[in-house]
């Protein structure tokens, strides 16, 4: 069998698909040829398949670097769900004894997920050196770039890790990287000779709408009308946890819909239950912070509404990309009031240590030993990887500028007179195509009339009934067993 025949066979047998989405096949071929590869594929177009499928054809170990524990666990759960038992996440969340036991059995696993700070530990490197590593995947590779939205200093050690592990091939994956970030990824990972596979960020089936409202009251009224008349399910994103709770209660009260709120301060079980209910179609709309969505593998999300202005266009696209993965019409709606920009501007500086703090931290680190908070965590990490005060200062100053610039880009997108799709394509794509701007691609909306045009209006009231009262425990036990 030729390589392509094997690839298609695995696609059907392992994943149940007949065809690839744009970019996937090219990435898989490149990886299987042992070629270092940078793949920029938009959210919602199946990035994980690009390493999962080769892993089955290559046969030994695939190591995936991932920035967040929650993300790793989602990916392991997804693989388990697909019937793959040989998947594991090694992270700080394990007890030393458990970790030790796991490291001894590491070569038995096909998929090993790790955070960058875990993989750089000597014991871990040693254990990995005992495995035959076919493929090293750097997921969310834009985290290595200080120009990227989620810069993670720990990613900087990965070039060295790659050298120590000497994998058959290396694959850097991301959904959001403009030209500058792409260059940075290749340099910092020492992958200059990598094959670059970059597909357009454009997702033609998602209508890109914005709606500027005079104040919060009119925003809420419009939101209520919009979600009531839209085919679901949908997600509404917020910048504030408190707002997810408030607006969920508001919609709950004003509509017949099943609404839930979701943010990082909820307990793990609560988050899991809500996520599962959403995936299984038991919720019409979810009011969430950006904590919701990673690892959400739901194809039929019909809309993504942003209640607040996102901090940058990269996150915006990532969140919008969760709509319409089934290829059917879907829409994104960015709501805004004049006050929103101010709110975001005040958030830009949060989490970035001020110059004075950096100086004091470097002069007397012991003073801050007990200090908690993101700023201190960040400074400690920088110090651990050996950056001096000046380097950290410069880096963080640049970051602040970048963040302001990113927010400005978002404001430009909001106020744009021209085609918003073209704006996005120009911003991200290497060779931007001319977008055929029509009424069906983007626009500013004061009413919900556009829903009909895209067949996104609810035809019948199929919203599921709300629960009343609790079930009896003995009945639930009978259902369970």
């Amino acid at each position: 069998m030729s390589t392509d025949e094997l690839i298609y066979k695995a696609l059907k047998e392992r994943f149940g698909y007949e065809t690839f989405k744009p970019g996937q096949l090219e990435v898989i071929r490149s990886v299987l040829a042992g070629q270092a590869t940078l793949a920029v594929l938009p959210t919602g177009t199946g990035k994980s398949l690009c390493y999962q499928l080769p892993a089955y054809l290559l046969g030994h170990t695939t190591v995936i670097i991932s920035p967040l524990i929650a993300l790793m666990q989602d990916q392991v759960a997804q693989l388990n769900y697909q019937g793959e038992k040989k998947a594991v996440a090694v992270n700080s969340n394990l007890e030393p004894r458990q970790k030790h036991a796991l490291l001894r059995r590491l070569s038995q696993y096909r998929f090993i997920f790790m955070a960058p700070e875990t993989i750089s530990q000597p014991a871990v490197i040693q254990a990995l050196q005992q495995c035959q590593i076919d493929l090293l995947v750097i997921d969310e590779a834009h985290c290595i770039s200080q120009w990227g939205i989620d810069f993670r200093p720990d990613y900087l050690v990965l070039a060295q890790v790659k050298q120590q592990l000497n994998p058959g091939a290396t694959l850097a994956l991301t959904a959001t990287a403009d030209a500058q970030v792409r260059r940075d990824i290749l340099t910092k990972l020492a992958l200059q000779s990598a094959k670059r596979i970059i597909t357009s960020v454009d997702r033609p089936n998602i209508y890109l709408g914005v709606s500027q409202q005079a104040d919060e009251a009119s925003k809420n009224t419009f939101l209520q009308q919009l979600v009531t008349e839209s085919q679901g399910p949908g997600i509404i994103y917020f910048s504030s946890r408190q707002k997810t709770v408030e607006i969920a209660a508001f919609l709950q009260q004003k509509t017949a819909m099943k609404v839930a709120y979701y943010h990082a301060a909820l307990s793990t079980q609560e988050r899991f239950i809500i996520q599962q209910q959403f995936m299984q179609g038991q919720l019409d709309v979810i009011c969430a912070t950006n904590a919701f969505g990673m690892g959400i593998n739901k194809a039929d999300i019909r809309y993504v509404i942003h209640y607040h202005l996102p901090q940058n266009i990269e996150s915006y696209l990532q969140e919008v990309g969760r709509a319409g993965r089934d290829g059917q019409p879907a829409y994104a709606m960015l709501l805004a009031t004049p006050q929103d920009t101010y709110l975001q501007q005040s958030l830009v500086s949060s989490g970035i240590p001020a110059a004075g703090l950096i100086r004091r931290f470097y002069q007397e680190p012991t003073l801050f030993k007990q200090s908690q908070g993101n700023e201190f965590d960040l400074l400690r990490r920088y110090q651990q990887i050996g950056m001096d005060e000046q380097a950290v200062s410069e880096l963080l100053q640049n970051r602040q500028k970048e963040k302001h610039f990113a927010l400005q880009t978002m404001v430009d997108y909001l106020n744009l007179q021209g085609c918003r799709r073209q704006f996005i394509v120009n911003y991200f794509d290497e060779h931007p195509q001319q977008v055929d701007h029509t009424e069906g691609c983007c626009g500013e909306q004061g009413s919900t009339a556009f829903l009909e045009k895209f067949n996104l209006k609810t035809v019948i009231d199929d919203k599921a009934p709300k629960i009343a009262g609790l079930d009896h425990w003995d009945g639930i036990l009978k259902q369970l067993f």
């Binding site: 666990q73 769900y81 996440a89 458990q98 629960i467 009343a468 425990w473 036990l477 067993f481």
Partner: protein, 346 residues
Amino acid sequence: MMLMAYLLCLLAPEKRRYQAIYYTLIGKRTTSNLYAALAYGLLKWLQIYPNLEQAQFQAELKRLQTNGWIAMDERYVWLTVAGQQKQAQWQTALVWPVHYEGPQMGHLPQFTARLMLAVQIVSEYHHQNSQYYPLATSMKDRVLVVSWFKRHKGTPNFSTQFQAELTQLFEQLDLQQADLVANQLLGHQVLGKSQQQLAQALGSQSLTVRVRTIDAYAQILGILLASQATYPLLSELVNQAETQLSQSTLQTWQLIQQGASIEQISQQRRVKVGTIKEHLLEAAMLLPQFPFDRFLAPTIIQKLGMLMTEQPTLSFNAAQAALPGLDFFEYRLYQIQRLVISHEHR
């Protein structure tokens, strides 16, 4: 709103160190925090809200202050007169846990997660389904439950026995509490209900549902700790070692029980004497039957007792002036004993 009300009920007209209250709620077990919690009578709420964020805690205090119910300075917080009235009102209106005993159930959230995951795994296994998303837990708890499951799944009638244990357990709870816990369980084709949904169904607040759920699991943990033999399968989901003391303190404590002295333990464990003493203070505050007499000579108890009867807030320096050679460990241990006794008599 609700959280603010609960926090107000943890305060007093006397000054309390607000960071110590925060650390009590999230379960940070340093000697000074534990001592403050003991002195404020808040030790029973130890670790009841492990994922409470500092920022939110501060925001809630701010709101209480804006309403004029509390006053604050850099370190301390106290109730105003209006706040005392409000407290009396809220104290009775709020739902309070009755089974939760912080020092004995430090790791309740982990236990809860393990129990829920075990129910899901056994339920799916019972229905011979292996294609499902396991409940998200920490990797540590996941490994524990999976190895528990592997140990038992070969036993004949495993899932029936498991179900029988659960039934027996639920029968021990109030009907409403049993229903509340059961409605949150998930398993084969059972998605579970979120606390938001339950709050809505009950016409209650999410936080109330959360508090009631914590209390139900506290009761469950108490039952399993007290009658392991009745619940052989479920009891294994309780990690005995993690219920009361931190790991290092536990080691010290075990050596003490074997009769070792502080100095011997220090040498054997290669840990400073001061640290061993901190362990003992932790144990004295967290364990119900601490042998104070073993570390406090009768003369010291008597003399400190006399001094503190006259002056309950006697400082260490003043105590040392009156009793040359007095060690801070003895002073603090005696204070703890007084507090423990006064709480017992309350």
